[in-house]
Structure formats: structure tokens, C-alpha cells
Amino acid sequence: MKISLNWIKDFVTIDPALSHKELVQTITLSVCEVEGFEETGMHLKDVLAAEVQVIKRHPDADKLSLVTVNYGKGTQQVVCGASNFKEGDKVPFAAEGVVLPGNFEIRKTKIRGVESCGMLCAEDELGFSDDHSGLMILDNKTIPGTALSELFPDQIDVIMEIDNKSITHRPDLWGHYGFARELGAIYRQPVKPLPLNTESVTGEGDRLTDVEVIATDLVPRFTGLSIDRVTICPSPFWMQHRLLRVGLRPISNMVDLTNYVMLELGQPMHAFDAKAIAGNKLIVRRADKGTTVMTLHQKEAVLDERDLTICDANGASVVAGVVGGVGSGVKATTSSIFLEAANWDPVNIRKTSTRIGLRTDASKRFEKSLDPDMTLLAIQRAVEYMKLTNPDLKICGKPVDIISKESEPMVIDIRPDFICQRLGKAIDTSTIKQILVSLGFIVEENGAELRVEVPSYRKTKDVSIPEDLVEEIGRIYGFNNIPPLAPEFPIDKPVFNLQHQFERLARSVMSSCRYHEVINYPLTCQKTEDQFGIKSEGVMKLVNPVADHQDQMRTSMLPHFMQTVLSNQKISFDFKVFELGRVYWKDQSGAIQEPERLIAAISQKSREKGGAFYHLKHDLLNLLSKLQIGEVSWLPLDEKTKADYQHKFISARLVANNSQFGSVFALSPEYMDILGLKEDVCFAELDFEQMFHFNKKQHLYTPPPKYPAVNFELSIMVPTRTFFESIRDIIYSVSELVRNVEFLAVYNSKDFNDQKSLSVSIEFRSVEKTLEPEEVKSLQDSVVAALAAKGYGLREA
């Protein structure tokens, strides 16, 4: 919202020594956020009124003319493209060197061979409006040489851009008067009162329009006035210019003055053409289902019984508090009007405006809970402004003023020491009183307490509890005048977030294992998840997605992560990457689950068989050890539960504490092809949530073995698809003295037919004594015999 400093100055005196920058900073620090400000009209000091003396045709261009003007200090010939003026007219003249808005400097130029020195200006070039239809024609009585800043002093102004969000809670700041009140309190200046004078809005005779409010629950107050003998014409220049400066387009005197009052007091109004009100009666009621209103914005609003309307005998003509119907307002021919200023239920206005998708200057204000005491004053101000163009207007009868809900007084009892304690700063009670009074609060001392009555324009929403008064005192006193103070706080028991520590350890191990962390969006779409055959039960779907590909919560990290791998393969094939994040769904009991997952991948150039898998396994063993996950079994994937995209052989499920908590897998050749992945890629998906809740393996000290171990190596011939672990288990079963069986190497050869040679290292050790050579020999023989019993022979040397 744009706020004009001149407009504020209509109501309060601002020290002229104060710089605009300081003023804006004060508003920012004590009232609300000013996003920026613009000083307007300074160039008008250099633009002079000039009299057109001679107009000649340009010798070389039909559309241009050569104009000689007298600008008070001399005469000048200017090439001009406009044609809306005649000799003797007074027009604005910018001489060589003058800088106009947009940093446009006037220079001596030649136009089609004729020298032109200076420029005759249109309204847009001077920043009055965006009108470029012709030169701005000044009052004919203007003396040539008068600066335009003298003719239009109001144009030298400061326009501040207020952040609307920062005044959501301040209905009183949706008009200039509210800002005047704030500055008055801050600078301790009196604010020009706007007293209500009912007589000024009361006329002879009867009203032209009757009003009935049916939906009284939604209309705390409805005020209106019939006015006859009016003519529609343009508003005074100053009003038009002011409206333009704060971003509103002038339309006609009646429309402009309702806007002007809205910007002054914050109270939106509507001017009806009284003769167009069918049955001469307005009825305020809920709409019938399916009612349509063609709005001023040429948009059809479809309403239902939740929406409030103003109707006449022909039906709804206005969507109350939001927008007027196209036929209800004033027209060029209007000669009598009904001026309405109402107070509507804010929630209902907001709902209607959201439903019909129309947020107007009016609805934006009504939804903030406007002061109901403002309606009659708004009418009174409107009549004052109307008299500027219609001095002979006739007010018909008394104003309509239907009050359905009397506003209750709001009184807050507060102890000054509560304010000081909450702010952490001792402030005199007299200062506290002075600040509150200057903001319009009525303060009465009542023993140790203050009885503070909240003014009507602050009590609808903003101020209701003692803490609200703390803010009022704090912001006017200046929060930055409160010195920082260390809180007194007891020493407390440290509380750790174990899950964060667990995450942090995982991140640290993964990045030490040379993985890069990425963060993907948790939002996805079914199409993305479908590709991996992920079930759609319990999926959390958004009602209002911003993008089609982000309309639900991911139930798996894999699809987006796959994209990460794919896109990075375009840069290089060798990388390791991981992500730690949540997946989301609703379980069968209806509870929403957000477990954490860790997903990792290795991409590398194809070298040996299973290269990426083994590298990933190597890193995961490190991770699992650091995370103190106890015994982990690496088991083949179950053929039935294996996903299509997973490789039949290069895949494993990870089991600990009898529970599967993850899988490591390459993609099937078919999926590698479908997804466009290349070379050697392997993924790991771990249920991080489950891992966190596992009982952690404790690292306890055990003394080193007392007696020496004897190591012994064997190369065993086994069928090609034999798992090392099945051989290991046979060897372990031989004797308790077998302490360790380790994989050494595998050797394939065509000579072996469908077999391979598996070399293992076996460690024998007793906890009681050093093993004798005969005992070792006997153990070795038992191992060979046990293998032979299962059909596995030794490789012949």
C-alpha cells in the first residue's frame, strides 16, 4: 500500500528538519515495515509555465509543429508533436538541462533538421498521471514563468510503500489518518481531530432509498445517506493527483471521493445510483444458491447462501464488502445517489473473496476487522468532499444507521511494573500514561493499576490483553532503547537429541567415505513413483500443488535419487552420493508415518564383476560399525519380494536383530537400459529410523588372546554359485577351536568346468593352551573331511 506524506501532514505537523530517511526509519522501527520511499515532484521546481505565442508547421514533418513560447524569462522555439493546444494557451515548459522523472534530461536537439531547445510536457512526462494524449494545459490565468511546483505544491511529496503483511493486524493503518495518529504519538504532536457532526449529514425531507438488513449476524453496522441534485464530473485536480500518486486511477467525482475516504480513514464505501435501485430499497441478505453478479471487473461471480449481498427488487447488485455489480454504481447520467458505508463480518468477507477469487481494496480492509464506529464519519467526510464539485447537493432526510451489534467497551487492567518487567526496562508511569493517551487510549489510575480503555479503532482485533499494551509502550518508547540483559537461568541437565547425533555420525562417516550429500525435494508425483512399482496406498496427496510433478509426498527416496545419479553421470561416471531424509505415508490405522531413510549410491566405470557392489558394501560395513549396528547378515533377495528393477544376483538384503533394515542392489540390465544409466552402479537403501532404534552394540574391552593362533590356508573346489558363507559355516561346525574363517580369493578357470576355486584362511586357537602340532594336524584333517562329506574337494596343486 502506498502512503503519501503530504496526506499525513493534512492531519499532523511533521518537523520539517526531519529528513525523509529518518522519518521512514522511525515508521519502520516503531510502526510497520516501509519497503521503500520515493520523493516525487522535485523536478516541478524547474518546469515553468509558458504561453504559446506562435504555432507553425514543421517544414519537413506533417505531425510536428514549431512552437514559440514565452516562459517568463525569454522565448524559445520548440518542436512539438502534440496538437491539443492553441496560441495563447499556457503549457508546462522544461528548458535545456532540466531533469524529468526517469532521469530524463532535456537536451538541445535537432528534430528533422530543425533545432529544438526544451520540451513542452504532457502529464505523464511530469509524473502527474500516465496521460500522454496531449500537452498538459494549465489554467489560462497562469503567469508565464511560474514554476509548476508553485501551481501544484502537493506534487512535492514522499510516497512510502508499506508492506501490507506488516499491517495485517492493524485495521487502523489501512488509511492515512491512522499513520498520522502514529506519528503524532511518536513525535508528541497533536493530531487534527475529525469530530462527528451528525447535523452535517442530515437534510430535509425523506430518504430516497430504504434499507433492510436481514443478515444481521454478518452486518454489525450499515450506514447510508441519500443525496440528490448531484452531477457527475471529474474530481478536483489535487484529488486526482493524490489518488494517482498512491496508485489509484481517478474516474469521476463520486467514485474518486469514495476511494479518497477509503484511503483517508480505511473505510471502503459504495456509491449507488439511487434511480437504478429497483423498488427504491436495498436489502442486505445472504445470496440464493447460484446467484450471479457481474462485477465492475467484468467477471461473473457465482454466489451461494454463504455469501452476503446487497439486493434490490431485481436481485443481488453488490457482493457485500467485496465488489459492486456493474449496474449498481454511478454513471455519467446519475443525478441522485445513495452513499453506503458498512461494517461487515471479517471472516465472511474473507471466505467470499477467497471463494470467488477476487481480492479488492475493500475486501482486503474488511477482512482485517474494521472499526464499526467509522461508518458515519466516512459518510460525513464523503459529503464534505462531494460539496467541492457539487456545492448545491441536497441531502435527503436522515442517514440510515442500522447497528446490529453494539460494540462493547474493551478495558485492560494493567500494572505499570508488569510492563517494565516484560520489557526488562524501568519506565516511568507518567511516560507509560502519556504514550497510551497519545495513541488514543483512555487511561485512568486505579491504585497500583492502570485501567486502560482501548479506542474503537484498535479493539476489533489488535489490542485485547496486557501483552498488547506492552508492545504499544515498547514500540513508541523504542525497543532499541532497551539495553540487552542476560537472563538469570539455572544450570540444567543436558538434554541430547540422540537421533540428530546418529544422523550427524552417519553424515560424517559417509562424507569421510567420500560420499557427497544431496537433498532432494520430498514432494513428488505418482508417475515418478510408479516407475519403481511403489504402492500408492496411504500416499499423502496435496490438494493444492504448485506443480504437477510435486503433488504428493514421496514414499521412497529412490526415484529422485535415481535422477540425481542419472544427471550426475552426464558429468562423470565416478562418484559416490548419499541422502538422508524422510519418507511419508499414512498407515492402516490412519496414523501418519515419517520414517527416516538413508540412501546411497556408487557410480563407477565398469571394471571387475560386482565392483560397485563390493565398494558399496565395503563402505556400508564401515558405516554400520561406526553406528554400532551389531551382527548384520547379507542375504540374497527373496525372489518373490524382489522388485523388478533390482538385479537378481547383485543384490542383498541386510538383516540385524532378526529384522530386515535395508537392501543393497544393482539394477537389472533391463532397468539400466530403461533409465538410461550406464557403467557400474549400485544402490543401498537403509531404514535409518529402524537402525536408530536398534539396540546398539557396545564396544567392550576383551583381553587379547593369551595363546597363539595357528593359521592354515585351503583352496576348495566348489560349484560356481556357491556362497563363501555356506563354506565358512561348514568349517566353523568342525570345532570350537576354529576361531575365524576368512575369504582370501576366488579363482575361475575354464578347466574347472562349472566350478571355482575358493581360497580361505582358517585360524585355530585355544583359550586354554598352545595347540600341539598333532592337534593342529588333526583339526586340519577334520576340516578337509567335513568339506569332503559335503562334496567339496581340495584344489589339486
Binding site: 518487567q421 508492545e471 515498547g474 525435494y521 490438494v543 515419517e594
Partner: protein, 344 residues
């Protein structure tokens, strides 16, 4: 005296042969030849039985001397040869230390994780507990309990993603305040970092998914002065320098009074630069004294306790710290972006 000559000849022979030896293992042959059981010196000793007693003693002495000369010389030669063999081996082991044949990639932690960890460290050192909350929240926790009733215009500030069942994606980390209060009794100090969601279009400085950091402290007699002190201390730690801050009124329904906190631009020291958009101040966070309705929603009596709360964007802090000018790469998954953060 013949013996004398024999000894001399033997000694000469020994040294001549020893000189020709170039391998440690060949020294053994020399040793056997001169000092072994069937060696030259032994056979000389055997001849001693033919000489007189006086001579024998004299010759015996010489033989022993020769024995030790031979042994010492062999040992010395052995040590020299070993040294030279080691030197040779070393020479052969020359490598190019300027190459990285493994093409090491360093691995990295995401800048948002780094920032969040740093913040958690600071707050934990100040005695705060770190809490979490669900991303999928209810209207109650995200709005109502935070003093934002339905159809309150303040909800406009939160472009909220809704689910079909009425749940929503939290638009702020503030629900963690309520969940924290439900579990804890004052005095307490908590922080709640995490993801938040707003349904708005993405551009260089806005994303629909971003990260916030919520803090809250509740005790008896907590004041605005405490809030200023605390935030100044905390920001000094985050930015690792003395910071100047200012408060201005800001509207957040869950605090009263509510503030926007600005920090004096660290780059230009307040003179105005591109970074602070030429205002000299950087809008950093929202904060305020916890609204009595919010305390009540958390089961805390606002007559007995007061507190302050604040919230700030982790993404923004990370972007400031690492000079990231566009928010989008944070979720881009490009490892060339990640490699910049190959620290910690």
C-alpha cells in the same frame, strides 16, 4: 719366520678376495674359506703342533689377531654392502608424488546440514535441547495453537500445502514449540530445526521447500531485554563477530510483542552495499515474547511464566555464510555444487 710370511700372504689374499665381493650372501663363502672349520686359518692352527711352545704362544696370538681382523673386516664389508643394497632399493622406489592415480573425490556434507549442525552446536553449548516434529502437521499445531485461528488474514503469509484428509505440510517450525511445551515444564530452552513448506513458485530466493530454525525459552520473568541479549549473543556466535542488532515491530500472531530483527550489514558495516540492498541492515529473523494464548496452548500458565521465541531461515544463513546467490542448487543434486563443501 716362514710362518710370518705365510700369515702376511694369507692376510693379503683375504683382503684381495673380500674386495671382489659385491653381494651379502657371497660373504658367507669368504667366511667359510678363511674362518670355517675347514678354512685356511684352521689348517694353519693345525700346523701349530709342530712348533715349540714359545713359538706356539707367539703364533697363536697372531692367528687370533688374524681371526678377529677377518671377522671384523667381513662384518664391516657386510654392513657396507647392506647399506648400498638399501640405497639401491630406495633409488628403484622413486615415484611421482605429484599425481593422484585414484582421482580422489573428497565427499561432502550438504551446506544445509553443515549450517544446521553449526547452529545446533551453538545452542547445545548454551544449554538448549534440540527437538523434532513431523513435517505433515495438523491445523491445530501449525495454526490454531499458535494463535492463528481459521480465516485469520495472517494465514495469507503462509501459502499452505493441504492434504485431502485435512492435514497440511507445516509452513513453519513453530509447531515444534507447542509439541515441546506439551512435554516440558519451565524453565526450559528448546530449538527445533527442520524442513518447512510453502506453496509458492520457485525463484532465485524462494523455494517451496526450505529450512527453518525455531527457538524458545520459557521461565519466570523473561523480558524483551533478555531476548535482545540472547539474540545478540547467539548471532555473534553464528557470524563469528560482534554484531549490532535492532528490533522493529513485526507481526507474528504467536508472539506479543513481536519483532523483526535486523543485523547491521557485516560486509559494509552499515554504509550500504549490494548485499544489504543499500539499507545497511539485513532482515534476519522474526522473534518476540511468546503470546499468552500460545503458552496456554502448551499447558503453561502465562501468569506465572513468560518466554521468548524466534525463528529464522537456515537456507538464508547458509547462503549468507557460503555466499550462495541462488537457492535452487540447494535441492539440485549436482555434485559439482556439493564438491565445494568438501569440508568437515
Amino acid at each position: 719366520m716362514i710362518m710370518e710370511k705365510v700369515f702376511q700372504a694369507l692376510e693379503q689374499e683375504f683382503h684381495k678376495i673380500l674386495k671382489t665381493i659385491e653381494q651379502v650372501r657371497d660373504l658367507e663363502t669368504v667366511k667359510t674359506r678363511f674362518l670355517g672349520k675347514k678354512g685356511k686359518l684352521t689348517s694353519l692352527m693345525k700346523q701349530l703342533k709342530d712348533v715349540s711352545n714359545e713359538e706356539r704362544a707367539e703364533i697363536g696370538k697372531k692367528i687370533n689377531r688374524l681371526k678377529s681382523v677377518f671377522q671384523d673386516s667381513i662384518d664391516e664389508r657386510k654392513s657396507d654392502l647392506k647399506k648400498s643394497e638399501f640405497n639401491q632399493k630406495m633409488e628403484e622406489e622413486w615415484i611421482d608424488i605429484t599425481i593422484d592415480p585414484f582421482k580422489s573425490d573428497t565427499g561432502s556434507t550438504h551446506p544445509l546440514s553443515l549450517m544446521q549442525q553449526r547452529l545446533e552446536d551453538i545452542f547445545m553449548a548454551m544449554g538448549f535441547a534440540v527437538l523434532d516434529g513431523p513435517h505433515i502437521e495438523t491445523e491445530y499445531y501449525n495454526f490454531e495453537a499458535l494463535n492463528i485461528p481459521s480465516h485469520h488474514p495472517a494465514r495469507d503469509m503462509h501459502d499452505t500445502f493441504y492434504f485431502e484428509d485435512g492435514h497440511l505440510l507445516r509452513t513453519q517450525t513453530s509447531p515444534i514449540q507447542i509439541r515441546g511445551m506439551e512435554k516440558m515444564r519451565p524453565p526450559f530452552k528448546i530449538i527445533g530445526p527442520g524442513k518447512v513448506f510453502r506453496c509458492e513458485r520457485t525463484d532465485a530466493s524462494h523455494d517451496s521447500v526450505f529450512h527453518q530454525f525455531e527457538g524458545m525459552m520459557v521461565d519466570r520473568d523473561i523480558s524483551v531485554a533478555n531476548l535482545i541479549y540472547f539474540l545478540k549473543t547467539m548471532l555473534g556466535e553464528i557470524f563469528e563477530s560482534d554484531v549490532e542488532v535492532r528490533l522493529r515491530p513485526g507481526y507474528f500472531p504467536f508472539v506479543e510483542p513481536g519483532f523483526e530483527l535486523d543485523m547491521r550489514c557485516l560486509l559494509c558495516k552499515g554504509k550500504g552495499c549490494r548485499f544489504c540492498k543499500h539499507v545497511g541492515w539485513i532482515e534476519l529473523l522474526g522473534c518476540g515474547m511468546v503470546h499468552p494464548n500460545v503458552l496456554r496452548a502448551g499447558g503453561i500458565d502465562p501468569k506465572e511464566f513468560s518466554g521468548f521465541a524466534f525463528g529464522m531461515g537456515i537456507d538464508r544463513l547458509a547462503m549468507m555464510k557460503y555466499d550462495i546467490t541462488d537457492i535452487r542448487p540447494l535441492h539440485g543434486g549436482n555434485l559439482n555444487f556439493a564438491r565445494v563443501f568438501s569440508i568437515s
